[in-house]
Symmetry: C2
Subunit: 143 residues, 2 copies
Amino acid sequence: MPDSEGNKTLMSYDPDNSFAKILKSELPCIKIYEDSQTLAFMDIMPQADGHVLVVPKESAATIVDLSVDGITACIKVTRRIAIAVQVALNASGVMIVQLNGAAAGQTVPHVHFHVIPRSLDAPLKAHAVTREDPAKLKRLAVL
Amino acid sequence: MPDSEGNKTLMSYDPDNSFAKILKSELPCIKIYEDSQTLAFMDIMPQADGHVLVVPKESAATIVDLSVDGITACIKVTRRIAIAVQVALNASGVMIVQLNGAAAGQTVPHVHFHVIPRSLDAPLKAHAVTREDPAKLKRLAVL
């Protein structure tokens, strides 16, 4: 779809998306990390135990719309979270996934990085399908 | 496996890996972009048309081993490539994937970001399986 300047956009920003609501404290989250530019929290429909999302506070739908400053802040935190989940969960692998546009599988119109711990003996679950027990998410978050 | 300090690492660095050889011009690549810290080139086993890899020049096996400076340089170029492939290929989605450790699907022990254009009508091919016709890669690279 074209934006206001006639350029094609991968996804329009919706200020009422669930991550925007989490940033405004209108929805709860299990917080892992926060600074002036970013927030990291447990994915409530994890693809693996310890699945964390990193979002910028900037209102941008996709990486194409996000400022260089915003993307830099996000990747620094994403790297820190990757190191943390690896250590906390003794993961033998970590996937970082960042999806832009419905065709790429993006479901929430606020740019986000998935940090997904991986092990050879646990298959990856489908993206954004099954809701996890909040108590289990809280246990993983404090590791 | 533990590194020299006894910490667990996700993957050991092999200075003879294929991306290190590309960086030393010991192997060819179809170059998309290069600066003092990064190189971007066509993936020879693409998961979709226009699949590009972004690598740091720093010798690091995974994101855990890469410096903050290195990761910052990589994500800035990754964002530029994502914008470029979206425009060049009229892609309706762009996936960014960064895999760490064999358990996450990493096959080359030099940290790299996948930039994969997506469309709703073309299924994603398996990772690192089928070699593409070099002439087709060159045609896509000049778009």
